[in-house]
């Protein structure tokens, strides 16, 4: 018995150990399974990210063909603890890239279509000088060889002249009179026959002329221009007799929402608190080419309603169940031409040769000026005071309608997006003394400086978030691949052009460089664009700020909110600018096509 009892403690210990071993091992197994589950999820995610890297690499190689093998068709490459394998196949002019990311035993395959977007966009510069509400200052002996269209007044010094016609639009109030800015949803029109046309009613707060209207919209495909009418109300629907007509250019609308201004052929006076309509007439329906306008379903704009119809002339409007996004801008601000010589002495005003170089002045007031041919103004004699008119004085003329700027905010946004698809340069870009470089498409988050004697070739659109400085004797050229299209440099900061900077197009006729800033400085000492010397083959554009042109500098075209030509400075308009076509690069940019990315 004694011998049997002596092993009892050991048996108990073994039983205890067994129990705790079972408990412990099950806990370890549980913990390990959780670890493996996390590891599996992590590896799957890693595989997907590495597959994404494969697509990015393929796009980069297509955009930088000199950096990868000719005829790039894909590759296998190690990335950290995994790898990707890409294959490219062609479908028409596009590539389909299939990328498989692998991490250990885990794989993820993605597929996307890569297409080349030669996103050219039209902008018509019909005038040697086009100026916004900031107006034009022409100092002594400065001149414009061409026509001027200004939405603000013109002040000219001794000897300042223009060879063509001058239009100064009736001034526009600085703030919108009526507006509906809320977009809670969107509304297609021009896509099906029942909604080819839309209309929005409004009630002006003052009795005044309407100068222009703005709409917040985007487009799908390439629809036709929209005719925009201002009409009276006819029993809760638009009248079929327009008070004024304007054209909303399809080229000003992009595939992203943006505001687009529409000016009218005349500026009718609207009566305060009376209902009027803005009618947008597409005139045909196309399922792949149409417009989308913002809409507020809450109908928060209390002074009108939105409607849609098959044909605005036939009645039978339907409720759009909300208000469209729009703004109306009223006029009534007196503007003038002061001290300017309009036209060249000796013109025969009836000679067809002078159809574009004529010599007429159109403004509410034409003061202290010499007008070679006809003067169109408001009231005798005060609004023609101090002026000499070579042929006809035509009082009681309507103020010219404000002219919308030739480039819309949406186009600028598109160009910035195109630049962002290329190289990303964090901080400043400096091209040092007498160095050469090719750049674009590219986005630079700092400033850009092209130093003395250095040479920069644009191979795509460049977006500079800071300032741009072109120093003495720098050369800025477009890659020859641009052909007859033009290239773009966009900045949010100031553009300063020092002496003897040379701008070259691609070499083909009609190819220019557009230097554009969204900067809003109108300071004389620190303007949005400061040009110190000759700058031909370049278009300067300051949508919200001032362009200041120094003494004796010569330009081809300048468009800005405000413009100042210093003593002896001149702008000589070139007719090809009326049809300028801007491309984002010589061969376009390869990028993933929308709605083609998928996980396999």
């Amino acid at each position: 018995m004694q011998r049997h009892q002596s092993g009892q403690t050991m048996v108990m210990i073994i039983i205890f150990l067994g129990i705790f071993l079972i408990f412990g091992s099950s806990l370890i197994a549980y913990t390990d399974s959780a670890r493996r589950a996390v590891q599996t999820r992590y590896s799957h995610e890693r595989a997907l990210q590495i597959a994404e890297a494969g697509i990015s690499q393929a796009i980069w190689c297509l955009n930088n063909s000199s950096e990868c093998d000719p005829g790039y068709a894909g590759e296998t490459k190690s990335v950290g603890d995994g790898s990707f394998t890409t294959t490219l196949s062609t479908v028409g002019t596009d590539y389909i890239v299939t990328s498989t990311g692998t991490v250990g035993p885990y794989t993820k395959t993605l597929r996307a279509t890569i297409s080349q977007t030669v996103t050219s966009s039209e902008a018509s510069f019909f005038y040697g000088v086009q100026v916004g509400a900031g107006g034009l200052v022409m100092q002594n002996n400065s001149f414009v060889d061409g026509n001027i269209y200004s939405n603000g007044s013109i002040d000219a010094g001794n000897g300042a002249y223009v060879t063509g016609d001058v239009y100064v639009a009736g001034g526009t109030a600085l703030t919108a009179d009526q507006q509906q800015l809320t977009q809670s949803t969107e509304f297609n029109f021009g896509d099906i026959s029942s909604r080819e046309d839309i209309a929005q009613s409004f009630k002006p707060s003052v009795t005044e002329v309407i100068n222009y209207a703005s709409f917040y919209l985007k487009k799908v495909g390439s629809p036709a221009n929209i005719l925009v009418y201002v009409t009276e109300d006819n029993g809760g629907e638009p009248s079929t007799t327009p008070l004024a007509t304007g054209t909303l250019n399809a080229s000003s609308v992009t595939s992203s929402f943006g505001w687009v201004d529409v000016s009218f052929n005349s500026n009718p006076e609207l009566t305060a608190n009376q209902t009027y309509w803005l009618v947008l007439d597409v005139n045909k329906d196309q399922s792949s080419k149409y417009y989308i306008i913002g809409k507020n379903t809450a109908a928060g704009y209390g002074n009108g309603v939105g409607l849609y119809d098959n044909d605005w002339n036939s009645g039978g409007w339907s409720s759009a169940s909300g208000d469209f996004t729009f703004q109306t801008w009223m006029g009534g601000i007196v503007t003038y031409i002061n001290g300017l010589t309009v036209g060249v002495t000796g013109h025969n005003c009836t000679d067809a040769h002078y159809a574009t170089h004529h010599g007429d002045a159109h403004a509410h007031q034409v003061l202290n000026s010499t007008v070679e041919c006809d003067a169109f103004y408001a009231t005798d004699p005060g609004d023609i005071s101090g002026s000499t008119v070579g042929r006809n004085k035509i009082p009681d003329s309507e103020d010219p309608a404000p002219e919308a700027m030739p480039i819309s905010d949406g186009q600028i946004t598109d160009w910035q997006a195109a630049a962002s698809k290329g190289d990303s340069i964090a901080g400043d870009y400096n091209l040092t003394l007498r160095q050469s470089d090719s750049l674009g498409p590219a986005r630079i988050t700092g400033n850009m400086t092209v130093s003395n004697g250095s040479s920069l070739t644009l191979t795509g659109t460049i977006w500079v978030e800071g300032d741009i400085l072109f120093e003495n004797n720098a050369t800025i050229s477009l890659d020859p691949g641009y052909g007859s299209t033009s290239g773009i440099i966009v900045t949010d900061g100031q553009i300063i052009v020092r002496n003897n900077v040379i701008f070259n197009g691609s070499g083909a006729d009609g190819s220019y460089i557009l230097a554009l800033t969204t900067n809003n400085s109108v300071s004389d000492s620190s303007p949005a664009i400061d040009i110190n010397n000759n700058a031909e083959t370049v278009i300067f554009y300051a949508s919200n700020g001032m362009i200041k042109v120094a003494n004796n500098a010569v330009l081809k075209e300048a468009t800005g909110y405000k413009l100042e030509l210093s003593n002896g400075a001149s702008v000589s308009y070139e007719s090809g600018l009326a049809n300028a076509n801007f491309a984002n690069g010589p061969g376009g940019i390869w990028a993933t096509e929308e709605s083609t990315w998928q996980e396999l």
Binding site: Y30, Q183, E186, F257, S288, T297, S595, T596, W597, Q598
Partner: protein
């Protein structure tokens, strides 16, 4: 065996049984909690995977859309997306879209549901389904106040369950890029 030996043996056995019993109870409690955490994690992962995959493939956040007779509006706990439709050969169908919404069940807010209406020729299945339970919080943040301009969505999912008077919680946060925008 003497009476003293019996008493000692019984005492030892009682102590051993008490220790084993207490260990068992503690263990089962731990297991119950761990299993609950496991369920919550699975729920959370399932919901995240489902949402991430759908949103990642979407080409647009839709302000509002009527899906299978119910109008859904995108806001901070509901997201309506438009996804390119895919045909039987797993190829995207041009200009055809499926519309899908993720939302908390108005009748039982612990359920995360999805409703989908498929475009013509799409292989995705229309209808409502439940993709997660134990939901206690769902938040979507967008990088634009205009739904159609949204390119990035931040998503926070909170799942909770009470076990043995103890509230267990798993929270997941992730940011998703709309790859087809």
């Amino acid at each position: 065996m003497s009476i003293q030996e019996v008493l000692v043996s019984v005492t030892v056995i009682v102590i051993i049984i008490a220790i084993v019993g207490a260990t068992y109870i503690t263990y089962t409690n731990v297991i119950r909690i761990q299993l609950a955490y496991n369920d919550l994690t699975i729920n959370l992962n399932t919901a995240q995977d489902h949402l991430v995959e759908s949103i990642r493939n979407a080409n647009q956040i839709v302000p509002s859309y009527t899906i299978n007779g119910t109008e859904y509006t995108t806001d901070f706990d509901t997201i309506v997306i438009r996804i390119p439709s895919i045909d039987g050969s797993n190829t995207i169908i041009n200009n055809v879209y499926d519309y899908q919404v993720f939302f908390r069940d108005p009748g039982d807010a612990t359920l995360l549901r999805t409703d989908l209406v498929a475009g013509a020729g799409s292989t995705r299945t229309s209808g409502v389904s439940t993709i997660a339970t134990d939901l206690s919080g769902l938040v979507f943040n967008y990088n634009s106040t205009t739904p159609t301009d949204v390119t990035k969505v931040e998503m926070i999912i909170d799942t909770q369950r009470t076990v043995s008077a103890q509230t267990l919680e798993r929270v997941g946060q992730t940011t998703i890029n709309l790859r087809n925008h």
